[in-house]
Symmetry: C2
Subunit: 188 residues, 2 copies
Amino acid sequence: MQEKLKNTELFTALGDDALSLLANYFKVVNHKKGTILIHAEKVEPYFYILETGIARAYSIGENQQITFWFGQAGDVLLSYNSYINNKPGYENIELLEDSVLYQIHLRDLFELYNEHLPLANWGRKIAERELIATEKRLIDRSFKDATERYRDFIVQSPDLIKRVALKHIASYLGVTQVTLSRIRAACK
Amino acid sequence: MQEKLKNTELFTALGDDALSLLANYFKVVNHKKGTILIHAEKVEPYFYILETGIARAYSIGENQQITFWFGQAGDVLLSYNSYINNKPGYENIELLEDSVLYQIHLRDLFELYNEHLPLANWGRKIAERELIATEKRLIDRSFKDATERYRDFIVQSPDLIKRVALKHIASYLGVTQVTLSRIRAACK
DNA sequence: GCCCACATTTTACAAATGTTAAAAAATAGA
DNA sequence: TCTATTTTTTAACATTTGTAAAATGTGGGC
């Protein structure tokens, strides 16, 4: 495993032995830009950690896709409904750049969770951190207008602004692409 | 612990020994309607499970409160930022009815998590389920208009519609009370 | 029963955002 | 480089939602 990944916030909390135990099960995989790693209509049996690249999670409606999450280096890519309920999910995950990932089968991961306490607590923290981030975004949808959300996004995710198509950022912020364009024109 | 609580989805997954271990640490507490159980500006050291009653979590902005979560019997009440980061949170939790709760100190809960594997995995599932629910709500904010969200809410939470003030439901749905009133008038 | 405090609805108007279509700009491939 | 495709912007108009204030409804205490 790359040193830089070991130093992400997600891994520093794990002890060395938990880390090397986990590393035994990880398989490094490469995927091209455009790969759909997780399909909403399937039970997806893998848990991924992104080493390099950018990903987006999106749901498909009648006339549109809604991007509701972006993943960057060190983030976990997962179909939560597969993981928890062993059922197809609501999210697709697409790689927006050529990517390197660590892959582990959910079967193996759950076995580790049931054998190794620090890992079980590590899995708990992954979900808890994601929950806090998601709740804050939900709250921001009410407290802040689209312009404020866009400004915050620029500050908090400067990499994403540079590397992700604006149409995806628009739906992530909860507006249409036309509205985002207007906001950007007004900000100049 | 009440039988009915043991039969909630949250507890049936736990084995009997994990349940009785947990029960040793729970203290039953009663609180009046209106009690603010969790304060956003404080590190709150307790984890609660609601036995009877209804609660809401809300954040305070400049001119308004936003209710972003409702808790019913069997749900966990918690300041996630206290729990995970040992820092003050973004959420207040208010009891909307006289309530009976199980209370455990975070110190004790973390000790259990570090000793007892089934409990650590139970804690993981609590956060994961909450995450799925929150992500779905965030996605619904984009896919569905306020009228559809209100109709869904009536179907999915018939108890809350009866027992919670509409001003709280309005902000939970992401609209003002005026808009909710208009929706309700149109639905008649 | 009456009054008070609070919740909800209604109204009129303003602001923000969506929709559709088209033009302009950027990007990828041959 | 040139073309084809996709992305982004712009425009005009429709719709939804917000704001502020007044009116109405509701429940508890005296």
